[in-house]
Amino acid sequence: VKVADLPAQALARRLGRGGLDLRLGPFIARIESPIPAVAEGITELWAEAAVVEEGFADFHVRLAPPGGVRRWLRPQVCFEFDGVSPFLPLPLDQAFAFLEWGLNWCVANHAHQYLVLHAAAVERDGGVAILPAPPGSGKSTLCAGLIARGWRLLSDELTLLSLATGAVAPLPRPVSLKNESIEVIHRFAPDALLSAPCHDTTKGSVAHMRPPATSIARDDESALPAWILFPRFRAGAPLEVAPRSRARTFMAVVDNAFNYHVLGGAGFDAVASLVDRCGCFDLTYGDLTEAVEAVAAVDRIAGERQPS
């Protein structure tokens, strides 16, 4: 059963009482919320996600308004994980974005069977391109552009690198787009389904792009990394693809890992193996179309620009 198969009333009832168990890649999240915007966001953006009928859930989360006068005066939403609120409340109209951010926190802080990277990951022809980058670098924009041109979405925000196999496990959830990126993707991929922007968040205006159904359908198929690309968007910049030193790539991957410090030597080994197997590049871009084409041809482009 998929989310899209559930009538709206049944979905709201489950969210309101007992929780809706959704499969998110290797995890099952039990989500409770009486807030209509959460149900609407799930219906719109997670339509293809599998509903799990019974059994164990990895993460138990709840989004609900706080008590007191906040119910009526500038209403807010609290995020709870196992009954504890790790964050301050946010304005109620940010409820669905809060669910996405909260689930990111759940995975980053608890999924230590993986090296968890702050990175997008997309796959084509069996090879995974990992795009680690800090906020504002154009990572999610490039990720959205790539999946709009046929790459499989493994993750927009959290790349899960298996310590056991070195493969990337899919976590195909909505792609988070911010500010100007929303309009960029509207123009680049007019058929992509984007949520209505949520304004005045701590990240500015945020909209989410529904992940491709084909990516959700393959959310149990891991794939091996082939490239590590550090994207950097600069308005008006010409496309530049430059090979990176592997040791500096290693350190940059560590900088973008959420749980490297938790994993100790296993984390070191995982990053070393990752860097060993991948082509490592910086990708500076000012035009999304050029960048998407460059990722598809990164080995050739980098080879052409390397000194002989």
Binding site: S245, R246, A247, R248, F250, M251, V254, Y260, H261, G264, G265, F268, D269, A272, V275, D276
Partner: protein, 97 residues
């Protein structure tokens, strides 16, 4: 007053992890949990010690070979400084000669 002579032989501490790519070396110290990107000379020192060079003369000779440098006084000073840095970081430790 006791007189402490400088250790004359160096080894890798237990549990140290390191990886080299074309002369660039990163190393992980399990005690501190810190990961270091080493300078070319420090990386060559670590590789030399891992390769079986333990006294400073042998280390300097191996480093000169790895980095294609003259094994003179200047290199000896750089190697000595690199050894001191690596020892301070816990990436090398004195061993019985």
């Amino acid at each position: 007053m006791a007189c402490h002579a400088s250790p004359v032989a160096w080894g890798l501490p237990p549990g140290l992890r390191w990886h080299a790519w074309a002369g660039e070396v990163v190393a992980y110290h399990p005690g501190s949990g810190d990961t270091h990107l080493l300078s070319p000379v420090a990386g060559a020192v670590l590789e030399a010690v891992a390769g079986g060079a333990h006294d400073e003369a042998a280390i300097a000779s191996a480093v000169a070979s790895r980095l294609d440098l003259n094994n003179g006084d200047g290199l000896a000073v750089m190697v000595e400084e690199a050894i001191a840095t690596l020892a301070r970081l816990g990436l090398l430790e004195p061993v019985a000669p």
